[in-house]
């Protein structure tokens, strides 16, 4: 599919020309809200930046709904666990939006140990005409007050403020990897490697936990790396996935038998699932492991419906990828609104899209050089062996420090947000 690019950076402009990335600016999560009007990003420095889509205006029809910074706030600070002598990173692991119920926006953001509920609200009026304070805010001498007046709300420049409404902490021994809001809008789930905690949004202390579920794998007695998904939590480990559905308590186990011919030292690592996503229609499940994306039918547990190779040319380089730690990278995957296309990231700032109907796939690159505003993204190709054509790039030239781990797709339209280290790229469909 053709894409028009419309780039936004979240760095300050003076950093735009520098090639290095401050570690705190590295984006660690991206998430559209349920209408697609807002896009939230979290970074390693514990900050959340929220973008809002511009209203389409008749005067500038070609500037269709661009995203601009709406709010920035520090969600988490680095902490220290004195009991265990451990530093708790402030990196935002996940952001989940709550469906909108009033004028304010609510989101949940989490680091390794603590989940916070943030309220983002607009203020465009301010009270003026206090009796005891003058316009500067200084207190007036009561003896100088001769008349009383009622303060009046006057319009002011729009101010967006974020306030932490709830802090949910002290419920996870291991690192929180995922949160998920329940459809009843009253509860949410946080999971770490071994435990699923079901919280009530109103109650922040541990008494508010209505359900905690500790898992060990029944067959191998190994612990399970857990993930949660929209409304339904999951626990993927290796090839095994459990879906625990509230409130019916349905547990599913998806497992594909291992192909013994491809066994190597790193079989467990590359079959370990890094992300799980339900399709919007709830009928399919998509899993991402190191080299492939698989689509599963919820009714069929023994083998996936579809398997897509993301970057199979890496299969021969697993040893060096193990040494430079790249083999542990956790790539995310995402569905489009109609569940017809799936997308996931790769190295060299490449990301891949697979059309499930036409079985076509495309590799695109998120880079400053290729992404002038309104330029169409050119498909890229990795040359596997033999002769390299002009536009192709060979496997050895790939930059493994440039990885696209986090991507998200607008719930209804063809707009995608792709995080490449410290830069955020937003691509939209071409308008004719």
């Amino acid at each position: 599919m053709e894409e028009e690019s419309d780039t936004r950076k979240i760095n300050n402009s003076f950093l735009r020309d520098h090639n290095y990335a401050t570690e705190a600016d590295i984006i660690s999560t991206v998430e559209f809200n349920s209408t697609g009007e807002l896009l939230a990003t979290g970074d390693k420095g514990g900050r959340v930046v929220v973008f809002q889509r511009e209203q389409e205006s008749k005067t500038q029809p070609h500037r269709r709904g661009e995203y601009n910074v709406y709010s920035t706030f520090q969600s988490h600070e680095p902490e220290f666990d004195y009991l265990k002598s451990l530093e708790i990173e402030e990196k935002i692991n996940k952001i989940k939006w709550l469906p909108q119920q009033n004028a304010a926006y609510f989101l949940l953001s989490t680091n390794d140990k603590t989940v916070k509920l943030w309220k983002i609200s607009e203020r465009d009026k301010r009270p003026e005409g206090y009796n005891l304070k003058d316009e500067d805010g200084r207190f007036r001498d009561p003896s100088t007050i001769t008349t009383l007046r009622v303060p009046v709300l006057q319009p002011m420049d729009l101010m967006v403020e974020a306030t932490a409404r709830r802090v949910f902490s002290n419920a996870h021994t291991y690192h929180i990897n995922s949160i998920s809001v329940n459809s009843d809008l009253q509860t949410f789930i946080s999971t770490d490697d071994l435990r699923v905690n079901l919280w009530n949004l109103e109650i922040t202390d541990r008494q508010g936990l209505t359900h905690t579920h500790t898992h060990t794998h029944p067959h191998t007695h190994r612990c399970i790396y857990t993930y949660t998904l929209p409304l339904i939590p999951k626990h993927p480990f290796h090839r095994h996935i459990y879906a625990h559905r509230n409130p019916t308590g349905l547990i599913c186990d998806f497992e594909e038998p291992e192909d013994p011919s491809t066994r190597s030292f790193f079989s467990e690592i590359i079959s370990s699932i890094s992300d799980v996503k339900f399709s919007h229609n709830g009928r399919y499940l998509m899993t991402r492991d190191y080299l492939t994306v698989k689509v599963w039918d919820l009714q069929m547990e023994n083998k996936p419906l579809e398997t897509y190779q993301v970057h199979d040319y890496l299969r021969g380089k697993l040893c060096s990828l193990y040494e430079n730690d790249c083999i542990f990278d956790k790539f995310e995957c995402v569905w489009n609104g109609s569940d017809s296309v799936i997308m996931t990231g790769s190295y060299n700032n490449f990301f891949r899209m697979f059309d499930r109907n036409t079985k076509r796939d495309v590799t695109l690159e998120a880079s400053r050089e290729n992404s002038k505003p309104r330029a169409i993204l050119k498909p890229r190709k990795v040359c596997v062996g033999g002769k390299r054509r002009k536009d192709e790039i060979s496997v050895d030239s790939l930059d493994f420090s440039k990885k696209i781990l986090h991507t998200t797709w607008h719930p209804h339209e063809n707009i995608i947000a792709v995080a490449a280290t410290n830069n955020l790229y937003i691509f939209q469909d071409k308008v004719n």
Partner: protein, 190 residues
Amino acid sequence: MEVNIEARRILAVSISKLYASRTQRGGLRLHRSLLLSLVMKSARDIYHSSRESEASSPVLPEPQPEPLSDRNSSETATEESDSKVDDYDFDIVEEKENLSPARQSRKRRGKASAAPDFLPSKRARLEPGEERYDAPLASCRVGAGESLATLSLNQVIPTSPGKQLPSACRFLRIRKEFGITSFLPNMISP
């Protein structure tokens, strides 16, 4: 053989990763540590099975018993929680020593011949309660014509049998308790 070298290399890389992950911010990550230990386990299994297939080769030179003090210090230095890593630590260190036993024995022989008389001779460390027992073999060697001095029998015999094993035997037993004798083809597991 190549698989052997590969397995050892991966093992060494894995151990260094495990150690490095202790000091990283945010503490140990459970899933990553699990994956690392799985890789280590498969590398160890492959190394072990390839070594077993070479076990039919001729007898390898005897291992050099390490002074017990060195082992103790390395034991106490590492934490309990990483006992599995300790085992591999032993193995890797022991490996390096086993790699060139010939060189070490050469070194020893050389020292014996070059050592002047006024320097203290290198003898095995005595455990408390043991006493050095000089060679009683002179009586057996009547008629041989050899001088007693050349018979450097330096036997260490415990005074109370059963109480203390000689250091070399005790070292073997400690290694067995850690469950890693199978990893070392040079050791004869009782």
